[in-house]
Symmetry: C2
Subunit: 371 residues, 2 copies
Amino acid sequence: VANHTIEEALQRARAKDHLSREAFPGHRYRRLTDDTRGWTRGTAVFDDGTVIAGYPHIGRLLRLEGGLSEHFAGPFWAEEKIDGFNVRIFRHHGEVLALTRGGFPCYFTMDRWSDFMDGAVLEADPDLVICAELAGPDNPYLVGAPPFIEEDVQLFVFDLMRKGAPSFVPVEVAHDLIARFALPGVQVLGRYGPEDLAAIQQMMRELNGRGSEGAVFKAEGPDAHRSKYITSASSMADIRDTARHMPDLPAEYFTGRLIRLAAFVDEEGITGQSAAALREELGAAMLDGLLEALEQYRRHHRVFHSYRCRLHSRTAAERLFAQIGEHSGHIQVRQRRLEREGPDWILEFDKSFPRITGLLGNILAGGMVFD
Amino acid sequence: VANHTIEEALQRARAKDHLSREAFPGHRYRRLTDDTRGWTRGTAVFDDGTVIAGYPHIGRLLRLEGGLSEHFAGPFWAEEKIDGFNVRIFRHHGEVLALTRGGFPCYFTMDRWSDFMDGAVLEADPDLVICAELAGPDNPYLVGAPPFIEEDVQLFVFDLMRKGAPSFVPVEVAHDLIARFALPGVQVLGRYGPEDLAAIQQMMRELNGRGSEGAVFKAEGPDAHRSKYITSASSMADIRDTARHMPDLPAEYFTGRLIRLAAFVDEEGITGQSAAALREELGAAMLDGLLEALEQYRRHHRVFHSYRCRLHSRTAAERLFAQIGEHSGHIQVRQRRLEREGPDWILEFDKSFPRITGLLGNILAGGMVFD
């Protein structure tokens, strides 16, 4: 929670060079490029003074036992956590805009949000900022998707904020608003207390069994505590989806997920037959991705991942793709297709991973490595 | 191979602050703390002018196909690579001294070398520098050992150098000297040419099957090319032996070994039943180490590894232990035992790993992680 006003944060960010100029078509704003005085990276301050706070960091519990009682004194809600990308949706001068977690315009969400929710809530309550996850196989940002979404994407509302405030609408108020306006909320798993450890552990085993990412726990009351807890199925999926371009990610991406996975297995207890299956699955998640990369390199002389997504407007697709190119860092982006399909546009592009491509090229050419 | 004289290297090292003062009892020297003008880190220059070059870097092939023909035009020897620690043994003013790879006095080797070889060679040829690997479960430096050494340590001579020269004695001359003086040489696997790819791949499968670290290939002739090639069994053993203190090592330690392992599996071909077994073994190597760390933390409130080694002299044991403490960086070293056993002294100590200890402490106390 921010103890400083946005003016104090802006002053500090200016001094530390943590501000950048960004724009939606027709709306200019400043973006916090780093956490500053309690305001999160991704906070947007429009030229008319409207402030959309960045989505706050949620701490991760690696263990429910001890963790729940340490962080929750009273009742809290458990909600399913969705493995997608985080956006903030709000109304600004009569238009619905969306920001990515980092605070850039999300052209994909702005093009697609009305497929999943009714904008009436933002007209009725124009102060509202809807925090949602877009998830599914046909998304422009992420490799991997929840197993229960078979095509395209879906939108899951999991929090509400208010313009100008770097804090959440209390969870029970959010539940009411989500119900009243029939917003596509994440699954609410129940209301618990810190004494319900065994029931929550059992629930986590069930979530893990169906490949869910995990849960977020939200204490009742204003600005109250939140923690997340991630299943081993989710850590495993992350490893499997990215092992193919291992050297293009920080190595800690993998070791961090291995440690989370071990903590989950230790707490939830996976033994016997399923223990061997889990180990084989983990070994395969690591090894098969790299072997697939070798196969792909042999056929295409590069290692890449193909993305595909559906948009209503060609202009949105073009803006989205241009932005992905600008933000891709050392990853190379190449458009493959932008074509009409019925009323929509299908955008397809590749991301090529230079480090694994270079390494495999060197290996297959018989090169040497000094390490 | 160094194109510069040691005087040029010393001048450069002085300018770049890559020299440190070290001493054996009675013998002072300067040590290169970084590679300098073709002279390797660990080069020692005694005050009387004697120069012991650092052990050169050997490039790693990640693939025999392509690699052998790329780097070898004519005949070369294959020798087994031993998973131990690298020392250089030589005679200096009537005493036999030993240096670690980094160029520090190796008190363990100086105490134990005469158990494994006859010093006559160093009297007959006082210019000689014997490059050897000490390997076995009872060693003061490494977790893990070759599976065929059941207790204590063994010494394996794998190269010869000459004082003052940063290059190897030609491989065929070294083989002759090793045979003539009955030195405990590494296993010579054969003389091959680049056309013997299939035979060498078959040999690597056999080495892998018995848990060998791999092979070093040495072209015939003076100063000729060398490369090493590592089995998947060795990468797997490294992962298994160190997963317990994963955050205390650079994360690249693990991802690098995963990539080597994949390259080996891809080239040597492991399929069917053994493919599933390999994946289960890999998953277990990662996961079980971390689960063991959790178990150890619960019992001892820290994660540590116990080392044990045998020395003839109490003074050598004390010097060795003092040096290990000085070089342990963020790892905490604690002596457990220094006691007579027959004619020898047994030194036992622990290394505690602060990062995994702190992380597990936080996890088990219900703490949160922001990542």
